[in-house]
Symmetry: C2
């Protein structure tokens, strides 16, 4: 290239006070979890949807002839956030249930008052696919405005084959129309539907014999998930379903050890799951098993606070034990009505002891790896997808230090500027 | 008026799915704390900066001829938030200290690394009044964008007469130029300045003999505050300073019982303080004393979480004991880098057990009362200032149910539309 003119590129992001990114394509743990690449006064060159170069603007600007320039105006640039655990397909919110919980209502009282997962099931069953898609598109707009460029989206409020398919079709339709990349997960094993309340094993049979193969043959989900907990899917049922899912070609994600120390982490490890999620009650043996099996723990630090449970996931022990954690919102209408990864990062610092670098790595590269996309997403390096967020802060540490507002100024997905904030301060 | 045409007014706010407001001009407690007026499909008529009428749009619209219409577009309208406890005059942020705390550094280690209040003192002393004013104006922009229309602003990072006056002049100058109403508080007794580290009583003398009277004669502060805690201003010093402040005509606010059960609440009650703030360690006797003296407790539910202290203020006991709590951010660069009252409301629900109605009353009417402005601010009723916030949610309960983003669509202060959000979702 020596002697040639500047290289034409689609986009040059300039005016970056600090660029902060993890590096690599595999999950980071230990000291690597905190080993960001930091570049001051940086630029990012983008072509054909991919990162071409990252470095000091003084070096990059003369070498590139961009068709478009995005001025970060002294802000910070980080990789697009990857939210590896959400339940965004629902119709109707649960603010009344939140109020009941504030007044001290128990789980049973809330269920008796018509709340809980089954209230969302009623909403989804009554809604058309088009209506679910429209609601999901609005939520994807909000994810994008908050800097999330890739989101895992679970079904799980249908609990019949037809209603679960309807949710997954809404996910597919919305994902095809929206800049946010959507990774579909089938969560038919979220709870037992009311019509199977007294015949639980028959619902497990239905999932095993019919729902799983049908969803798989229609190509509607990459992953299959189960809520493994004594009061819903016990270890035996979870094993049976997830073995079947794995045999059918799904990747496996599991809700485990969230409310009790059931041993779900050990099962996730044995099954070679892509992720084990929640884990507030995981045992040391569970942590060791996850580490041996290279399962990514997906941590949701907003949820215990939101559920008014004092138990926090033992994140430092996980990192010390060689695990490579991801962070997620767990956005859903019952146990976490929040779509903001910046908010998650602050609470990961406050509740789990994550530094800014660790938190950022967990919500980008490690989350991407948990979704099988570490080769393409989660860091800003040549060859990777140009998914990036411009923040109106001088330094990536403000992602944990500041909270309660949206710091996102602009978002680029696959090289396209897909979101720009208005003029307001927050 | 019967038979006359519609009344000309400056502004009509229409399209309000729900209007939610406390009522009255005095602090609310007990069941009254949760007794919002709720009006569906509402409108608000405003003239000459004041509320003229609140009610169903179908009734109000025909009766008023507005010069301007603000369409709430199906959102919720609430009174402008009143943030009764902030430290917004500083130069330089403390994100490095936040990271040290995440890594487990103690208070002493942080101070030795150059952190803590005294690091902000260095910053303020080195900054010009103009620079402090410019920084404060930016922060007022952000308060406004987050729905705060009145903010109490403390000095307290100067700790010399000249530097404290500089901070209070910056507050006065910014307040005069900005739509947000700023209530100035002198907090020279925030900490001991380094030059008095070994002569603490001399700094108390200086405050008592010189700083308090000079600040008062210049009319730079309505309130005087003290950080009452064993390691800073003990009960005897606090009493001496606050008696002097009261005699000089300041209203009294006090940081009390935040870190230890020193008995600061009892002292605040004895002194007839307008507010007693923090109170995580208040005793039952302290609660009783505050109730007898009608002191408003200003609660800051973000701070224990931010400081990684598990202790929460006994808010339910306070309400049961007849206290009328206010809620505030305590925005400052060390122990709470957050300016969002919506965020405070969620954490008041999650950590303190406030319902949506209680939280909203505490952050509007009760906060206004703690600042001596209950007759004019804190509720949407005829005759009061037209300070209101349009939220992009269907119901006031979303103020607690949802978090981690800014729900504010528009803000009206004294009848003027002073903020409109851009097009983005968050």
């Amino acid at each position: 290239m020596a002697g040639a003119g500047p290289q034409p590129v689609d986009l040059l992001v300039t005016g970056i006070a600090q660029l902060a990114t993890p590096r690599g394509s595999t999950p980071r743990t230990g000291a690597d979890l905190d080993a960001l690449q930091l570049v001051d006064d940086a630029a990012v060159a983008v072509d054909d949807g991919r990162v071409v170069a990252v470095g000091p603007e003084a070096e990059l600007a003369p070498r590139h002839a961009p068709r478009e320039v995005l001025d970060a105006a002294g802000g910070t640039v980080v990789p697009g956030f990857v939210d590896a655990h959400t339940h965004p397909v629902f119709d109707g919110t649960r603010e009344a249930e939140f109020e009941l919980r504030t007044r001290g209502a128990t789980y049973v009282e809330i269920a008796e008052a018509g709340g809980g997962i089954l209230s969302s099931v009623r909403g989804v069953r009554a809604a058309s696919r088009e209506r679910l898609e429209a609601g999901l598109l609005q939520r994807l707009d909000r994810f994008l405005a908050l800097g999330t460029t890739t989101v895992e989206a679970k079904s799980g409020y249908g609990l019949t084959l037809a209603d679960e398919v309807k949710c997954l079709e809404a996910i597919a339709a919305a994902g095809a129309r929206h800049p946010v990349e959507v990774v579909p997960t089938f969560l038919g094993a979220h709870d037992f539907p009311p019509e199977f309340r007294d015949a639980r094993e028959r619902y497990v049979d239905l999932l095993h014999d019919e729902m799983l193969p049908r969803v798989r043959e229609r190509g509607l989900a990459e992953y299959c998930d189960v809520f493994t907990e004594a009061h819903v899917f016990d270890l035996a049922s979870s094993r049976r379903l997830m073995e079947r899912a794995r045999d059918l070609g799904f990747g496996v994600r599991m809700h485990v050890d969230q409310l009790t120390a059931l041993g779900g982490a050990e099962l996730a490890a044995e099954l070679g799951a892509a992720s084990a999620d929640h884990l507030e009650f995981v045992s040391d043996a569970g942590i060791e098993a996850l580490a041996r099996a290279d399962v990514v723990p997906v941590l949701c630090p907003l949820v215990p606070l939101y559920l008014r449970v004092e138990r926090e996931v033992p994140a430092r022990r996980m990192v010390a034990g060689g695990l490579a954690p991801a962070l997620a919102t767990d956005f859903n209408p019952g146990s976490c009505y929040c779509q903001s990864i910046p908010e998650v990062l602050t609470w990961a610092a406050l509740r789990l002891g994550f530094t800014a670098g660790e938190a950022l790595t967990a919500a980008t590269l490690n989350a991407a790896c948990s979704l099988g996309r570490g080769d393409r997403l989660g860091s800003l390096e040549p060859g990777k997808d140009a998914d990036l967020v411009v923040l109106d802060v001088p330094d990536h540490r403000f992602l944990v230090y500041e909270f309660g507002r949206n710091p996102v100024r602009a978002v680029v997905k696959r090289g396209r500027v897909v979101h720009r904030r208005g003029e307001e301060a927050a």
